[in-house]
């Protein structure tokens, strides 16, 4: 238990799932870790037909007849990555991007391909061999390839096959309160959710670790129809706005200044009253919060909100530097604050909703 009565953030879970591969559509390894962790903490655990992990937890006996709304807490397991689409006769692997990877950061990166994590380099000619005008340009992703060091198709196909996924080759590290790792969008949210289920909540909760968020919010849409919650809170790892040279007022949100609350993004107008409850809880419990930048991005909450006859939905995010890139940073004080904020919000909701 943390100092303020909320469950403690489980950094061990974050480390394990950050290191595991889980590109959209291939979330098995991440799911296995979370399922193993959750099994003895929840009342039921199932994998839905899309592949999302759905855990139901009845509320703790509180002596009150008021049951409270059924809350769906959701974080997506998938990360952006690559998929091998062809093996060429020289042994090079052609690939497609899965989700929003910025093509500018690809050349030269090391990836891990397939379940066995075969190392591959995104090939790019050294500057010596490039015509001068080409040196200033970003290579189009279609002109890039993955190289596992094979000299022929036969040699390559012994180790990888078409359809294999590739993830950034990054290992979790700690430094002060800073943590470095890949896929903090949204393994940070997944670990916050895992931390929350350590104790029985004050109202009925269904925890959903969803699939295929990065390719169109697919898993959560299906899960919401199955779960049919009264309310939903989505836990995200979101982009920090910190950038050298930008005016101060443009640099928010910041890593280390508390969970970011969303008012609006491209997929969602956050439910006004639910947002009020979260804000009031943060103030009362002295959890620092900041605003996420409006007008950009989209999350699973957008799909959950319009499922069935509608679900009041909100988003709470851990602010990370350099998401959708080889390595991101977060501050473990923020992940604990996110756990505390959601935990206490559940308490407020039991008392005050509707």
């Amino acid at each position: 238990m943390s100092a303020d009565g909320a469950p403690k953030f489980r950094e061990d879970v974050l480390e394990a799932i950050s290191n595991a591969p889980g590109v959209s559509g291939g979330e098995e390894a991440v799911r296995a870790i979370l399922a193993g962790y959750a099994r003895d903490k929840v009342d039921s655990l199932e994998v839905d037909p899309m592949g999302s992990l759905v855990a139901r937890i009845a509320p703790r006996g509180n002596g009150s007849s008021k049951r409270g709304p059924h809350v769906m807490l959701c974080a997506h397991m998938d990360e952006v990555g690559l998929m091998v689409t062809a093996v060429e006769k020289e042994g090079r692997l052609r690939f497609r991007r899965v989700g929003g990877i910025d093509p500018r950061i690809l050349p030269g990166q090391v990836f891990r391909v397939g379940a066995e994590g075969i190392r591959a380099v995104v090939g790019a000619l050294p500057p010596h061999l490039l015509p001068r005008p080409e040196r200033e340009k970003v290579t189009a992703p279609d002109d890039l390839y993955l190289d596992i060091g094979a000299r022929s198709r036969e040699e390559a196909e012994e180790r990888v096959s078409v359809g294999s996924y590739a993830v950034f080759d990054t290992t979790y590290e700690a430094w002060g309160t800073t943590r470095k790792g890949k896929a903090f969008d949204d393994r940070a949210g997944c670990a916050v959710l895992a931390s929350l289920i350590q104790r029985r909540p004050p109202l009925p909760v269904t925890a959903v670790w969803s699939v295929q968020e990065e390719v169109g919010l697919r898993g959560a849409a299906a899960a919401a129809r199955r779960v049919q919650p009264d309310l939903a809170i989505v836990l995200e790892g979101t982009a920090s706005g910190e950038a050298p040279g930008s005016p101060a007022e443009e640099q928010y949100p910041y890593m280390g200044r508390g969970p970011a609350l969303t008012v609006q993004d491209r997929s969602l107008m956050v439910h006004a009253r639910l947002l009020d409850v979260i804000e009031e809880t943060a103030k009362r419990r002295r959890v620092p919060t900041q605003w996420k930048r409006p007008g950009v991005g989209g999350t699973d909450a957008g799909r959950i909100a319009i499922s069935g006859s509608g679900v009041p939905s909100a988003v709470v995010s851990v602010v990370c530097r350099y998401i959708h890139a080889p390595a991101a940073y977060l501050d473990v004080r923020d992940t604990q604050r996110a756990v505390s904020l959601i935990w206490h919000t559940l308490d407020t909701l039991r008392k005050e909703w509707p």
Binding site: P247, A248, E249, E250, Y252, V263, Q264, M269, V270, H271, A272, W291, R293, P294, G295, A305, I306, S307, G308, S309, G310, V311, P312
Partner: protein, 340 residues
């Protein structure tokens, strides 16, 4: 006719002046609930739609009109106290120039300005980044009073200019007012009538989608506005009566629902014009595709854009729309029987 006209003369200014950008419709929701008092059972659903069950015997008919209006959201407040914006809904950045807005929650007004490029021509093809919001709050107060995430809407009350209504929120408060006016004093409903004033239409028909799912109607009529210049193959015009939709992006009317509208127009002797547009303006698509499909028709009030924050609607068209709506709710929906 005169009593209906007087209804609209008070309804339209009141409804058009109510605050209600997409997702923050509390003001217009309250105004509509006042306006429909005594007409049925009203409730608010999870997405903020107003659902009015009027009753009546027969098939379940949904009459749906969106109540949200153009909005903006503050994305940052710069070092000079000006707010920068993102736009909620389809109103273009250009059309926002000069608009007076009401920022709810803080009860503050502001005006939208434009950073006109010094060297370039005034082509007015601009992005939302070029807009700013001046509130007069100054460098110290602005970041506190209108922080990131503050939502605003046009501060505008419709007024009559001769035969025209002029206002910033007429899309679709004109439709909301027409429904309320049609329901008042109407007897002899031939369907089990459900009315929805939908939320978040301007963000992609989100409210219409969830309300139709909940109501599971046998048939639906969506009421919205259509702009002059939008219709292909014979453009629409002000003063020629309501439009009946034949096509818009993602939507084709169901023959049985279209038949209901046509029979009602004939019985009520309302002339109408056809609307065929490529844009995806209305909630009709979302209602049509709800659950296993809902026979849906689209009725639209013709409107003209002014190239600024206001739009124009013909008062006679609005009266005819009221008459058509009365016809629709007093004509029984016969399903696929009798439709071609």
């Amino acid at each position: 006719m005169s009593s209906r006209a007087s209804h609209l003369d008070s309804l339209l200014p009141a409804l058009s002046g109510a605050y209600g950008p997409p997702g923050r419709e509390a003001g217009i929701r309250a105004a509509l609930r006042r306006a429909v008092r005594g007409l049925g059972t009203a409730r608010e659903d999870a997405l903020g739609n107003v659902h009015l069950h009027v009753g009546g015997k027969g098939p379940r008919l949904l009459l749906s009109a969106h109540m949200d209006a153009p909005g903006i959201i503050v994305t940052r407040v710069d070092s000079s106290g000006l707010a920068r914006l993102s736009i909620l809904g389809p109103m273009s950045a250009t059309d926002w120039i000069g608009a007076v807005v009401h920022l709810n929650g803080v009860e503050q007004h502001g005006v939208i300005g434009w950073d006109r490029p010094k060297e370039s021509k005034d082509s007015r093809e601009i992005e939302a980044d070029a807009l700013y919001l001046e509130t007069g709050l100054g460098v110290k107060q602005a970041p506190k009073k209108i922080p990131v995430g503050t939502v605003g809407a046009l501060h505008d009350r419709a007024e009559k200019l001769g035969d025209l209504w002029c206002g910033g929120n007429l899309d679709n408060r004109a439709g909301c007012a027409a429904i309320v006016a049609a329901l008042r004093g109407t007897r002899g409903l031939k369907n089990d009538l459900h009315v929805v004033f939908s939320a978040q239409s301007d963000l992609g028909a989100r409210g219409a989608m969830t309300s139709a799912f909940g109501i599971e109607p046998d048939a639906a009529v969506v009421l919205d506005v259509a702009f002059v210049g939008e219709s292909r193959g014979g453009d629409i015009a002000l003063g020629k009566g309501p439009c009946v939709g034949l096509k818009e992006e993602g939507f084709l009317p169901h023959p049985a629902a279209l038949d209901l509208v046509k029979r009602a127009a004939k019985a009520a002797r309302v002339s109408f014009q056809w609307l065929i547009r490529e844009s995806s303006g209305s909630d009709a698509r979302a209602v049509r595709a709800s659950r296993s499909g809902v026979p849906t028709a689209l009725v639209a009030i013709p409107a003209r854009k002014t190239g600024g924050p206001r739009v124009l609607v013909n008062a006679g068209d609005l009266e005819k729309t009221v008459t058509l709506l009365r016809g629709i709710v007093t004509t029984s929906y016969t399903g696929t029987r009798g439709s071609k």
